[in-house]
Amino acid sequence: MHLKTEVIIIGGGSTGTGIARDLALREIPSILLEKGDFTSGASGRNHGLLHSGARYVVSDREAARECITENRILKAIAPHCIEATGGFFVSLPEDSLYWRDQFIRSCMDVGIEAEPLQRDDVLQRDPAINPDLVAAVRVPDGAVDPFLLVIENARDAERNGAKCLTHVEVTELLAAGGRIRGVMARDTITGEPHDIEAPFVVNATGAWADHILKLAGLHLGLILSKGSMLITNRRLCRHVINRCRPPGDGDIIVPNETVSILGTTSVTIDDIGRIEVTPPEVSRLIEAASHLIPAVKTTRFIRAYAGVRPLFQFADAADGRAVSREFVLVDHGARDGLSGLITITGGKLITYRLMAEKVCDLLCGKMGVRVDCKTAVTPLPGAERPFDLSGRLKEFGDVPLQGRGETLCDCELIGRGEIEGILRQGRLRNLQDILHRTRLAKGTCQGAFCVYRLLGVLQEQGLTGGGEPHEILKGFLEERWKGVRPILGGLSLREEELIESIYRGLFNL
């Protein structure tokens, strides 16, 4: 297919979809290309943490200031993607109180609400926390659903004129006379080639930024830092729990919908194609998190996963965590003599909107147009229905199912009606595309029961394609295994025996 547009955005994560939306609201046409589905990269593989900025406030005030500003903006424009749990920075007896004082002072300087709390007060508000704690500081951390956030950005971008092509991989950057002219791309499922013409190309591929730049013979030298996380089978805490000390491994626990997420590690890696969580990392995370919440030791884990942080090296630094978390915006016209090409990378989920704004401001400057950014004040679609977990649970407690159809997923209470609604939205190329748009399979059994049911529904709708239907099921089980295998031990072996008894035993797959 031959297409023509003003801006090509490569990457369907939070930054890419954020840029597409920002441009669309400024009425600048764009086409977004994503080689997988939305949220296939770090946007779908993070902590789901709505930072207040407190975590970086001592080491990097500028980053902290950006965080708290974006925290407030996101709460206003995307309340349905956010659970404003609040967060505690917990001081254990071995943690420096000098650091804590510095932390509170820095929060005040930056404008992050920081409320010092006594031990008993903390335990009353969140009884799961280690009773040995000395004190804690309450900050406006929260939980965010990154899948919903990205999908809503893409949806709103398209509603306002952008075009998003998923499962389309960029194969060439087209340039002539020191100017970018467009890209060649290929549909990864059908193989169909696309050539797309545009005067501007934005590389918003996060950790893959150097892969794209290589197509033009360019290189940023990003450091790739793997962060691993574990999901528990229940919600361990009511607040985001951080250790009140300089950031380290395994010192954050985020309550997210029905589960909690522990993390993270920081391991520098060479090959982005091979990221897996190792059993020693799992043990390390459990050990570290158990200092914050002792019940971590006796909790059943349901999955491990890892995301890759792209870190830009301003100066030499050995440990990934010491490098700035701030994003980088590279104008390759100025840096490399290839005008029209821009790379945006680094940063955090919480600052995706700001990153998009900066990119679009730069683009507008180059185009010579003056339109202000509207994303800070325009709510995302769906913002009128705020986050309401207990309401959802209540609704499912009623016996008659009304129009919801049978309950496909017991862990997350997803009915057939919700899945059929997603199928009606279209643009679903494979099972993962569906799973990115629902909480089905994200709960305790990690899809062991509900994915069979989902496939049953897909079959009825004629959506499983021509192949052997249980090949899709096998593919899902292997993908699931990647996340489950690292955490198998302790109580999770029971669940494992159940699943294996069904799929290898009963169904003989």
Binding site: R453, P469, G490, Y503, G505, L506, F507, N508
Partner: protein, 407 residues
């Protein structure tokens, strides 16, 4: 009160031990915290599904056993396995019986549209043994989420349809609630009428395995008469109604023969005196009760049953700390691929016994004079890969009780 035998575990192996003992006139207590995998997964009786297709069990299994001298089957040989299977089958007189179809394994369709080999086929699945896909219709129920007829049919290359029954529309229907409903004639009439409406010349109808608890063959015959087709059951996602039928039959038999049946009772300790086990301690919070016996069969299964447990790094047998056949480092427990390639090594680990199924201590001597092991807790079997679960449970449950009573 003192028992001749206490059986710990109420899965198929424990039930089989208890049956064998009561049939020999022993005074038996059977205690379990749950019903094991039986009520979740069992449909037919697998003995060794991994044998080559078409192989006669009586010829191929003895040869297989020769090549696997550590396997629990090697402790009793094919003759011993067959004797135990016969003892099991005698609990299920016609019309709802279990029998082999031909000499070897029979491939039966599953709810995922695959087929799986089993040896003793329940009467309700017999018509599925020679599936003719052009002449077969699979039916499910609209709103029943544990069996999707069209999905299973796509894998089996036949036709599938969901029945619309107004009585059950708009609610979450479970296999057990549908099984009970099918025991009622008016409901069955609606189901039969719906099947007839959807037939397009098919002569065989596959039905999720929930044709009632009490008289499945009566229900099946009634549906056959009303639809003019041959009906068969297909195993579906847990729970398993066919497994529950087996459980109910055992319970009925054991109670009729005077066994004491304590379901929902976790054994917290096995008490010992010198070389012998003397009693089990059962928690009924806030009460702790102690039951004494002369002999004990431990049939607690694997991780799901609580027969094995693990922390992050090591596995153990929690009641007595019995030595396990291997101590594998955690990274070797499971392979990188879930379905393909090598077997997961963890499944071969279990309790080591002598030829009489008495567990051995670290020095290779019997751990206690009056303790026997039955079921999947045993080492050197890989029931998932072998497709041998029920065979192992029945054969070792039977043998453990026989050896215990002979001592």
């Amino acid at each position: 009160m003192r028992y001749d035998l206490i059986v710990i575990g109420m899965g198929l192996s424990g039930l089989m031990s208890a049956k064998t003992a009561v049939d020999a006139g022993a005074k038996v207590l059977v205690v379990g915290k749950g019903t094991g995998g039986l009520c979740l997964f069992t449909s037919g009786i697998d003995v060794m599904g991994a044998l080559p297709a078409g192989a006669a069990m009586g010829e191929a299994l003895p040869r297989w056993i020769e090549r696997h001298p550590d396997h629990p089957y090697a402790k009793m040989g094919w003759e011993g396995v067959r004797e135990a299977l016969e003892a099991f089958a005698e609990l299920f007189p016609p019309p709802y019986g279990f029998a082999p179809e031909g000499e070897g394994n029979c491939l039966l369709p599953t709810g995922a549209g695959t087929t799986r080999p089993t040896y003793l086929v329940p009467a309700t699945m017999r018509s599925a043994c020679r599936l003719e896909k052009e002449r077969t219709l699979l039916v499910g129920f609209q709103g029943f989420r544990d069996f999707y007829a069209e999905y299973a049919a796509a894998g089996l290359k036949c036709r599938g349809e969901n029945l619309a029954i107004p009585e059950i529309a708009g609610r979450n229907n479970s296999a057990t609630s549908l099984a009970r409903l099918l025991e009622d004639l008016p409901f069955r009439e609606q189901v039969a009428a719906e099947i007839v409406r959807r037939l397009r010349g098919e002569t065989h109808v596959g039905f999720p395995a929930l044709l009632g608890f009490r008289n499945p063959m009566e229900i099946l015959k009634d549906l056959e008469d009303r639809t003019g087709t041959a009906i068969f059951e297909i195993p579906i996602l847990p729970p398993s109604v066919p497994g529950m039928r087996i459980f109910r039959r055992f319970r009925q038999h054991l109670i009729a023969r005077g066994a004491t049946f304590l379901l929902g009772s976790p054994v917290s300790r096995i008490l010992r005196n010198g070389p012998s086990c003397t009693a089990v301690e059962i928690l009924h919070p806030p009460v702790t009760q102690v039951y004494e016996a002369d002999r004990f069969v431990l049939a607690t299964g694997r991780f799901m049953g609580g027969g094995l447990c693990a922390d992050e790094e090591t596995m153990r047998e929690p009641l007595l700390g019995l030595p396990l056949s291997a101590s594998l480092p955690r990274e070797h427990w499971f392979e990188r691929s879930f379905l393909e390639g090598r077997e997961h090594a963890i499944h071969g680990v279990g309790v080591v016994t002598d030829g009489d199924l008495r567990p051995l201590d670290g020095a290779g001597r019997p751990y206690a004079a009056n303790l026997w092991i039955a079921g999947t807790l045993l080492a050197h079997q890989r029931w998932i890969d072998e497709k041998s679960r029920e065979g192992i449970e029945i054969a070792t449950g039977y043998r453990a009780a026989r050896k215990a009573l002979a001592s």
